[in-house]
């Protein structure tokens, strides 16, 4: 049994400590927005936030995450006020500025890697609100996209940065 905080909510899961977080999210919590790509932290499709940092959930044993705050793509758009009010986030409601930028730039093709790309970008912009092209390269070169949406991702990151900056 492991106690986790997932998208602002406390959950208790029955899982062996070495089970990667990815499979706890997908198979035990039904949060399938986080994707399985390689299983060895090479592609970034499984990227989530742990205490605000972008991490690869496919290689992260759930036993090490007790009490840590985990955010997945499903929880990205939850405004803090809504969390406090205990209101449940539903797909189809508000979006994070990064997700909005992804829509505006028509980024996704197959879309499978995009949850990971978006999670990495949100963490990048939290740490660096005005990233240069080089900053974007270093943050996002670990996220693979086989459809080749990189040029649009770059544009969307810049767009989101502009939207978020006060």
């Amino acid at each position: 049994m492991v106690k986790l905080i997932v998208n602002g909510k406390s959950v208790t899961v029955v899982a062996e400590a070495e089970t990667p977080l990815l499979w706890v999210l997908r198979d035990k919590l039904g949060l399938t927005g986080t994707k399985f790509g390689c299983g060895i932290a090479q592609c970034g499709a499984c990227t989530v936030h742990v205490d605000g940092e972008a991490r690869r959930s496919c290689v992260m044993p759930v036993g090490e995450l007790a009490g840590r705050a985990i955010t997945t793509i499903e929880g990205l758009a939850t405004p803090p006020e809504m969390e406090r009010a205990g209101e449940r986030w539903r797909a189809g409601t508000a979006l994070h500025a990064v997700q909005e930028a992804w829509l505006a730039e028509n980024v996704p093709q197959c879309g499978y890697c995009q949850a990971g790309q978006i999670m990495t970008t949100v963490a990048l912009l939290a740490a660096n609100p005005a990233p240069t092209d080089d900053d974007i390269d270093s943050a996002l070169s670990a996220n693979l996209c086989r459809c080749g949406t990189y040029p649009r991702i770059r544009r969307a990151v810049h767009r989101a940065a502009k939207a978020i900056r006060p």
Binding site: W23, L103, G111, C113, S141, R146
Partner: protein, 751 residues
Amino acid sequence: MNRRTFLLGTASGALAIGCAFGRTGGRVWRHHQRTGELQPNAWIRILADGRVIFTLDRVEMGQGTMTSHAAMVCEELEVDPTTITILPAEASRAYDNPDRQIRVQITGGSTSTKASWQPLREAGAVAREMLRRAAAETWAVPLGECVAIAGTIQHAKTSRMLRYGELVKAAARQDTPRVRLKDPAQWTLIGKSLGRLDIRPKVDGSGIYGVDVQLPGLLTAVIVRPPVRGGTVAKLDASAARARRGVVDVVQIPEGVAVIAEGYWEARTGAELLQVTWDEGHGGTLDTDALFAAFEKLASARGQRTAHDAGDAYEALGKGTRVEATYRAPYLAHATMEPQNATCWIRRGRCEVWAPTQTPGIARFRVAEAIGFDLDDVAIHTTLIGGGFGRRGLVDYAVEAARLAQRVKRPIKVMWSREDDQEHDWYRPMAVSKFVGSVEFGTGNESRPLQPGPGRITGWLHRLVAQSIVTHEAGDFLGARVPNATPRALRRLVSAGPPRMTARGTLLDPTSIEGAADLPYAIPNLRVEYTPAETGIPVGFWRSVGHSFNAFFTECFFDELAHAAGKDPYELRRELLASHPRHRAVLELAATRAGWDTPLAAGVGRGIAVHASFHSFCAQVAEVSVTGNRVRVHRVVVAIDCGRVVNPGLVAAQVESAVIYGLSAALKQQITHRKGRVQETNFHTYRSLRMHETPVIETHLVTSTEDPTGVGEPGVPPIAPALCNAIFAATGKRIRTLPIEAALASPGAAS
């Protein structure tokens, strides 16, 4: 619609009713009486509440069919595509790809827009006309005064308006009309960059891909597969696996040993506990170096078949300056981001499959065969698809899920690991080409290399050795293509014939020679020979298929001959494409936009290539520099002529996608076998282009009034040769073996 026979599919896809339109719309009326909907054809349903439901029969795997196809329907139907509901088509013959060479429910061959262009616009127009007639009848006004605008029919003179939903009943009584399609000048959607309709669920995590399918009591299976081709289980000890918590069963199927558990992690770690001794058969001897040596030996002799013969190449090669070269292209994996998977549930004599597949048609046929069901008792639900690239034209994952569902009597999902995906793909075939060319010089040209001059190519001999894809894939395709009522034995007979013939070479596999046998250049003596070479390694369609290697072979060797003739590679292409205006137009457009004649920074080289595939024409100019073994691609300028452009934004996205997919392969990718084992087992060894390596890609579309042609694939073939020709321009090194990074790292591979 000229009294054509159309098929009326139902929402479930379980029934496909032949429906002869023309004299009477009786079936549309009967359908309305049952359901309250207007369903004039297999694609469009309009509900009494006004909702428009469009059934998308070419799967959306990122290439944009959901958006482009909705635009084609909505253009004629006069509704806002952002307001309609779009559902993926179930397996049904009503949704066979109308392309004459296909006629199976499959999305591939860059046919989606080309094949749907006429039927989908007609489908929208038929619905619109039935609604207009219904309004004219209701109001008792002349039909000509009833105008369809944004989901309504309007009568300006009396300021009356009815919504489509309100007209459904009266429209369903109408005979199916002959329709005239809108004049292009009236288009409001076609030709515009309508935003993608499929991406909201792809950015908020709610989209359901194959791996995300959930069902009550769902089990997950991981299959341990033989380490080499044709390996079989000699001894199995599953006791430790069975003892693992969460493991439910261990089941042997022809594909391997399945460990079935409550979830993926339990199944995967359970699979690691299996003790399997494999009988490797001959599969353990496969070795890439030996295969290339064997292919090269075959290419040294006259080809088994002549794919093209003009003039007398052998005689011409005896004169002038002779140039010889051998080119090699490796096996390639598709490496879709979503590993292969499928979910199946068999209950009460019905089999339901949920799968990210490019072909519900073949999936239904193969699943039915595998579990001994009738086609009508198998339903295929297409999920979102995490990348296709040709891989999901195969349905092995669906067959596995069905076999296991039949055994465990519960819903079950088969999940491939990345390693499974890499090691058990149906690869882009390896191929070898030996070329001999001859060039002749005019006067005074040898002293002025690279200047336009009278040097010319007099002879071209291309000996291509490649593994036949048809041998591996045609069985599935033909089996699904014959009418559903075909007896099983006859179906098997039909599907087995052509593969045997292509393997023997008695039938020329068109996918092996495409892009080589139809070389567009005016070379007087041109001969292309082909020899099929079967290795036993499964091969399949990979984005742009035979063009993917033949463009590399021919456009690189053409560059060699241009340099040998002392001609500018762009100018010589232009000259020899005089009778191919669409090739020449994209070539000129790409060269102009790239600034072919403008100077480059020191160390940067520019290369060009042009290639036609899937009825489209594409030219690319690449700018690169090379430091040691590292290649930096700075800029790629693309010109593409794909006929009328339905959505310029989607075409540009597909071109960027194709360039990046092709660059990954050209620079980094190969599947090699040692002792029968695939060496590139995950993304660390099968590398793809990443953000920081991606060049600036500029896409220029040719304005055309020709009907639309392929977009998803034609951007792939030119990039490898454009890149290799640019590397030659930058360094003087000729890359003749892909991938480039490996070639540069191994001394002697490049010269």
